[in-house]
């Protein structure tokens, strides 16, 4: 019998993997992918709670908002990464250590 806990554990695994990628990767595009993993983990949690813990469709509506924010984030994030690449010729975050353009 598949219950709420199964989904929570899968989501925890996704979240932990995302955090691992966020902490250990140097490439900015790779870090953006890890952030997408984390957002997906949060979404799985929201939808699982909406199914198994009552509360109606609110959780799914919230998940749609998370997807909207993820789309906005990846668009702006990639714009910044591309500008950084044009400026410094590298996608590595360690090299982005100055605060002037």
């Amino acid at each position: 019998m598949i219950g709420l806990q199964h989904y929570l554990v899968v989501s925890a695994a996704l979240f932990a993997l995302g955090v691992l990628g966020l902490l250990t990767r140097r490439n900015a595009v790779h870090v953006l992918m890890s952030i997408e993993l984390i957002l997906n983990a949060a979404n799985v949690n929201l939808v699982a709670f909406s199914r198994y813990a009552g509360g109606g469709l609110g959780g799914q509506v919230f998940a749609v908002f998370v997807i909207v924010v993820a789309a906005a984030e990846v668009a702006v994030g990639l714009a910044i990464v591309l500008t950084l690449y044009r400026l410094r010729r590298t996608p590595n975050l360690d090299d982005a250590d100055i605060l002037k353009g």
């Binding site: 554990v9 993993l37 799914q60 924010v69």
Partner: protein, 165 residues
């Protein structure tokens, strides 16, 4: 094992394994394509959870939009003759410790806590979500549309080449 359990384990394994490839692969392009499998797996989990609208949204926006954008990012931040798109790791040990600790704590909470168990019968959700958007969640809905517009314009502003500079 019931049919639902079999399908759940297939999708769960697919999702977590491909997410591991996303994070651990040394080649950026493998990560990007593995992310595709992860998004499909999560969409499958949504279907199992009875969230049909979200599953379709996941496929449309994540696979059709975000993943394509990320692939553009991979391609544009490397020279085209750069065949192996390497991505280095840093502070691997401490990262592993933090991630493993997070996983253990989250799993312990998920397994130990007493969750309410009122299972909603699976039913089509699209009409309900649409009604909620235009009634209870109208203000966040409008704010989200403004956010998308601002993000689009901001992204275009950031990447444009300045002629005068």
């Amino acid at each position: 094992m019931s049919g639902e359990a079999v399908v759940f384990w297939i999708f769960a394994t697919l999702t977590v394994a491909s997410a591991a490839v996303v994070v651990l692969s040394r080649t950026l392009i493998y990560s990007a394509f593995s992310l595709l499998v992860t998004f499909f797996g999560v969409a499958g989990l949504y279907v199992l959870l009875g969230a049909d609208f979200l599953a379709a949204t996941q496929l449309l926006i994540y696979v059709g939009g975000i993943l394509v954008l990320l692939l553009f990012g991979v391609m544009l931040t490397h020279k085209i003759y750069d065949l192996d798109l390497r991505s280095e790791t840093t502070q691997l040990l401490s990262g592993l410790i933090v991630a493993a600790g997070l996983f253990v704590v989250l799993t312990a909470v998920a397994l130990k806590a007493e969750w309410p168990s009122v299972e909603r019968a699976p039913a089509p959700t699209t009409a309900g979500i649409g009604r909620l958007f235009l009634s209870d969640y109208l203000l966040p809905f409008e704010a989200a549309s403004v956010l998308l517009l601002v993000a689009l314009m901001g992204a275009a502003m950031i990447v444009r080449r300045r002629r005068d500079a």
